[in-house]
Every structure is written in C-alpha cells, then in structure tokens.
C-alpha cells in the first residue's frame, strides 16, 4: 500500500469574474503517492462538501489523460506544475514529499478572464481558430486520399505542431501573455502540408490579427511557453508564424 502523505495547499478562491480573490490554506493528511494531482483536489472537494462550510474548489478537467486540454492550473508557479511535458491531470503526487506546500492558481491573462476559482475563459482560442485555422474544404468531393503523396518528414513535422491541445499554458507562462505558440502551432501545422497551401497567406494574416484583437501580448522570445507546453511544441512554431506573416504581407 502506498505511503500516506500530508500536503498543505494554498489555493486561489474567487467567487466570480469581478469578485476579489485570495489564496486559501487547506491541509490534507490522507493523500498518497499513487494519486494524481487532480485526484488530490477531488479528495479536498469531498472533504469540503462533508464539512459543509464552503463550496468546493472549481477547476476545469475532463479526459484526465492529457489530451483534451480542459485542465490547466499554475502549480507552484509553473503552468501544469513541475513535470516536463505533462498536463496537470497527469501529474502524480509521487513527485511531492510528505509535508510539502503547494500553491495552486489559475492561468492568468487579460484575454483569459477568471470565471470562478481556477476556471478561466479561453474562448479567445476558438476565435483565433475561427479566423482561419483550417483548410476550407466542404464535405464531399475530396480526391482519393493517396492522390497527393506527402513526404513523411513533412507530415511528421506538421504533426509535431498539430498535437497542440489548446490548454493555454503557453499564455499563462508568458510574461507578455502572448498566444504566439498556440497560434503559430496551427499556422505551422497547415503550412507544412500541401493541403494548407491555397490559403496560406490569408490564414496567417487573419489569425495573427485575431490574436492581437483578443488582447494577447506580443512575443519577445522568453521561451517560457515551450518550457511548459505539455505537448512539447517547439518555439520554431513562432519563428514559422513570423516568416509566414512577412511572406504574406511583403512576399
């Protein structure tokens, strides 16, 4: 049986978008190392419901397999917590020691307003995709899938950018709250494929314009986004976005 752990949490509580928030202390003495971090928060919430004094902590989560992008909190000052290439739903308590204190805060950015506690509104990401993050093909009429060979290296490279889960950690970790890694990843995915060529120029211009309109900051090459990305998307995506933008505007 796994060893029992005591953990002290400091968790951001905020009742609504305009309410004042604060860090609140909670101590749990019945955790163990096989639990995931979100399961530890589950235990906290069950405890709070039984006590009946305050509402449970709200946090977004769904697949708990690191692929849906729903979860995302800042743990100990790092978006998604200390484990590299790991969304917070796959962070496990075995990486903490008995008696540790863990500070948990929402993803903070002007373009991600807080909904409640650790839940933020990331709908700006949908609007960036809506601005042009697709290939405009209607259903039906597509040619045979093998009619256009795509070099394996191209598709592998496109894939590395296509794995983005839209969690927003890149924004939360960036000193400028820039969405460049998210936006650049979709631009780079489609720019690497022949299917993305027809709309290549208008796509990058529209998506970059939308990103700016949403209130995200500019990229100034800190590289924090790449460090926290649970899918390890390279900041080469941002360089690609810039080249594509220049090519579209001046090319």
């Amino acid at each position: 049986m796994a060893q029992t752990m005591t953990i002290h949490f400091k968790i951001w509580r905020q009742s609504g978008p305009d309410a004042k928030g604060k860090l609140v202390d909670y101590t749990l003495d019945n955790l163990n190392e096989d639990m995931s971090f979100l399961e530890a928060l589950d235990v906290l919430n069950e405890t709070l419901i039984h006590k009946g004094e305050e509402d449970p902590v709200e946090f977004d989560n769904d697949c708990r397999e690191g692929i849906c992008g729903s979860c995302g909190v800042v743990v100990g000052g790092i978006a998604h917590g200390p484990m590299k290439a790991t969304a917070v739903c796959q962070l496990h308590m075995r990486h903490y020691k008995d008696g540790d204190t863990i500070v948990v805060e929402p993803f903070r950015a002007e373009a991600f307003p807080i909904v409640k506690d650790l839940v933020v509104d990331r709908s700006a990401f949908d609007r960036i995709i809506a601005a042009g993050g697709y290939v405009s093909v209607d259903t039906g009429g597509a040619p045979d899938a093998n009619s256009l060979p795509v070099p394996k290296n191209d598709v592998d490279e496109a894939f590395d950018f296509a794995t983005c889960i839209g969690c927003g950690a890149c924004v939360a970790s960036c000193p400028n709250a820039s969405a460049s890694l998210f936006t650049g990843a979709k631009i780079a995915h489609l720019a690497h494929l022949p299917q993305g060529q027809a709309e290549r120029k208008q796509r990058v211009v529209r998506m970059v314009d939308q990103m700016q309109a949403e209130g995200f900051g500019d990229c100034s090459n800190h590289g924090e986004c790449e460090a926290v990305c649970p899918k390890q998307i390279s900041i080469a995506a941002i360089a690609k976005m810039r080249r594509e933008y220049l090519r579209a505007v001046f090319g």
């Binding site: 449970p56 692929i67 849906c68 995709i129 597509a142």
Partner: protein
Amino acid sequence: MTLEAHVPSGPLAEKWQHYLDKAKLVNPANKRKHEILVVGTGLAGGSAAASLAELGYRVKVFCIQDSPRRAHSIAAQGGINAAKNYPNDGDTVWRLFYDTVKGGDYRAREANVHRLAAISNQIIDQCVAQGVPFAREYGGLLDNRSFGGAQVSRTFYARGQTGQQLLLGAYQALERQVQAGGVEMFPRREMLELVVVDGAARGVVVRNLVTGELERHAGDAVLLCTGGYGNVYFLSTNAKNSNVTAAWRCHRKGAFFANPCYTQIHPTCIPVSGKYQSKLTLMSESLRNDGRVWVPGAAGDARAPGDIPQTERDYYLERRYPGFGNLVPRDVASRAAKVICDDGFGVGATGQAVYLDFADAIGRLGESRVRERYGNLFEMYERITGENPYRAPMRIYPAVHYTMGGLWVDYRLMSSIPGLFVLGEANFSDHGANRLGASALMQGLADGYFIISSTLGDYIASGGGSGEVRASEAAFDEAANAAEDRIRRMLHVDGTKTVTEFHRELGQIMWDYVGMSRNREGLLHAIDAIADLRADYWENVSVPGRKDALNKNLEFAGRVADFLELGELMARDALHREESCGAHFREEYQTPEGEALRRDDAYAYVAAWESTEDAAEPVLHKEALSFEAVDLSTRSYK
C-alpha cells in the same frame, strides 16, 4: 407501436445508393429557413454541424465543455478503419462490412453496417483534404496498421492520437462555419430536456453552466450527438464529464433505448491502483500489434516478469486463439483476461492484471522503431504507473470503454421521436453486441459528414419540422419547469453523502453484477440494489452551492441521478437477454470451452425499451434482425 427501421429495398450493396437516389431534397434557398439544433461536438456532432452549415442550414450547437474541441472523441488513440485496400492485402467493402457484423456477434442491423463500410473510404479522403496528418510511408503514401477482429491492415492512424487529429479536423470545419455565420456556438451548455411539440422534436432546454440560467432553443430538428454512457460504472476510460443525461432525458420523453446492456470492456487499460481513483486510462488496442499478452504458467507465481523463463509463461491468447492470437476482438480478449485472473494467474499487487510484453518487438524491431510506433502511449504508461515499459512488460486489465447500446434509430438515424436524430456512440445502430477497434471514429464521422445531410434533408423536405414553434410555448414551459424542479430538489435534499460517493456505489454494483460476466441471480440483485440506492439518493445526497453559478457538483448530481435510472434498465436488459453475445456474457449460456453461446432462434432482435412512469416496468419493443447477405454463424477466432 411497431419499430419500422425504414431500410431501403434492393440488394444490400445498393440500398444506400437507392436511398440517396430517392431522398427528397431541400432547395438551397430554403435550407436557410431551417434551424437545426446539434447537441454535442465530438466527431459526430462536430462533423454534422459543419456539414449542415456548409449546405446552408442555420445551425445552433451546444457543448458542455468550454470549447467544442474538447469533446471526448479527442481521446481516441488507435485509428480509423477504411476499406481502401492500400496495402493490397485483399480488403474490400464487403470484408469490412462482414468483419464488423461478425465482430458485433450478429446483433447489428445489416444494412447500416454495409453503409458504414461503403462510406469508410470517403471519410479518409475528406480528412486528408482537411489537413489531418495521418501516418505515411517514406514514399509519401498513407500507412495502415492492424486492429483486432480483422486479418487485413485497414486502420489509418495518426500516431496514438488519431481521435485528436480527426476531432480537430471536424472542430476546425465547425469553427470555419462559426466564422461564416452558419453556426452559432453555445459552449458550457448542458441539455437537460428535449421539447416535443405535436409529437415531433422541436427544441431543447439547456443550462448555461456559468450563469445557471435555463435557456430555451426552438428548432426544426434536434441532432443528439452526446456520446456513450460508460460512466454509469463510475470507473471507465470516459472523460469525467461524459454522461447519459441528454440521451436519458430524450428516453424519458419517448425515445426508445436500445440494447442498453451491450457495454464494451476494453482489454488493455492501466489497472486500478486505489480506491480514490477517479478514472481509468486506456492503452490503445494498436499495442496488440506488437505486444504479447501473458501470465505466469503457475498460479500465484510472484517472481518478477523478467525472472520467469519463456517455458513457464502462458501466452493464453495465442494458445486459445491461434488464428487471431493477440488480435482477437475486445470482448474475447477481456473475458479471457478476467477468467485467467479469476483463476489466480493474475499479476501485480492486486492480482487483477496481465502482462502486455514488448520484449520480442523491441528485439525484432529495435527500441527506436517501437518508440516511433507507440512512444506517446509508453510515456503515458510511465507517467501514470512510474514504470518503464521498455524495460518491463506493461500490466493491463480490462476497463469499461464504450457502449454499443444507445437510443434506437432507424436507417435514417431518426429515433422513435420524429425529428430527433441520434448520431455516433449515442445511437445503438452499427456495432451490435461488440464494437471492433477503430470503428467508433468511422461511425461518428460517417453519421456526421455523410449520412445526416441526406436523411435530415429528406425529413425536412417531407414536411418534418414545418410550422413555426416559439420558445414561449407551453411545451417549453413544461420542459423548463421539469428541469428547474429537478435542480431545486437536488439542492434541497441536504443529506450527508456526496454525489461522488453515490456514483462510486452505483459503479461498484454495475461492475460486479452488470459487468464482464453476468448471471440471473446477480442481475436480480443489481436491480434491487440500484432501486434502493436511487431512493437513498433522493433522501441523502448532499449537493453544495447555488444553482445560479458555476457549480460542477450540481452538474454531476443531475448526471448521477440519471445514471441511477439507466443502471437499472441496463440490468433489466441484461436479465431479459438469455443468451451470450459479444460483450454480453451470461454465465448460464456458454459453450463447453467457455465461449459465448448465442441463441439466434430466440434473441436475434434489437431490444428497444420504452420508458414508463414506473422504472420497474419499461416496455420492450423488438426489432427483428434479418440477415440476407451473411449467414449467422458461430463466431470463431481460433
């Protein structure tokens, strides 16, 4: 009421074409006069909403997540089937159809399955055109791999993230329509009631999960694309928010629920590690291409796997099923794992696990090739268990994964309520009693991209959804009041047990008695135990917080209340079906070798249940399954 499946006449292979030839069309200028409500944004809902908006319909789309991109289709790992025959290994549309019917243990509607197989190739074409980065060979052409229940390689894949890439394709197509004005998107909305006017589905009541407001939306047809109900077991590979509520509310409004007991228990999942566990994680079936399943040859052998010599291992799937080996269908592999663990041969701390071993594959291909094929799955395994599967075999055990049952639909995907169409996992139609791997993505996209556009058009052009309906009508008041009343009741019980505690208890009953192996006595017990638990729920549940704010406990409270009704229906369905077929294994009906014993003379039908006031007395309707093109034979993978 008789169940009319509306299967077109003519030879099997020509039925869909025949339907398309005869389906009524809606004039392009008239399409924009029709409002279609789509609930759910997974592969089925996302693709349907995008396709219908492209055609000119006005589409409103609802999803419970903060973004349509997060629907649980995103977590599908292994791949999507199509009968392209690119590998030149003899695949045909007929073979894909046949494998799927056989894989479903002859409990699916033949005509639907053939249509699915026939459409499969178009899906791949469409997704490639969207920029989905499927795996390719060095020559630039698409790669395929093998999945269970087939002897050809017909599975297209995108690393271990095929669902993600296909869903993002559908999501992007959907967002394109949002931008174009054809789709109005409503995220963080949960459907709580269907609105039926003059016998037809004409609207929905949804709860705005941020403000708590109950919103009313009227339309000319409702498309339910809300996925499966595996979370009735509490522990499953489903996402935490996956639930049956939208489908169950439609059932209570008159939509028949078909084959609820057909539940897929997936053989390769990471075993349960503790009682706080919130969900289970799948390890893709694709791993069985190269991984070999074994247990120690002697019960209770506690040696480390590496210390057990080859001669003292039992590769029991290869031994029992030499024809298909490790690639037998999921129901067969799961049951074999359960039997061998129940007999004391299981491994790990709980004895509820078997090994999935890659040592041979690593020896044959080298670690880098194995990493290329399965790298992200191996990493996920290590992240969760803290063990390195390149060094020691994975430990796996079956877990609830998919539900073949769902709302009954006819050939047109229309439920027993006119104007309510049900797509993807939420319907019952294509997988019979067991779904083959890489078929769920195929079905969701076939329904959404290629089937609903014609069948919905035919419904509208035939006068369905005509006449204006206003959200102020009495039927909307009634539905909104019912939803409001349930919310108020849940918040006012003020008991001592949490929603999660009730959900765990329900899940344990379901797993123990309505799980991989069922018998009459256990099912009778389950029916009583669930009814008792349901009564207790409404006396003792504790739901914190308010209704007019974000309150996830309140959301879950409503879902668990519906699971407590569904669970009983599943047990009743399993009890009434006195045969074993696919994933439904009744201990009383097995061959001397322990294989499923089907009873075609008595049970070759779809069981479609009609809801009544009394949960103990649902009414059974039967849709006879007739097989014109295939012979009903005993499924064998030996």
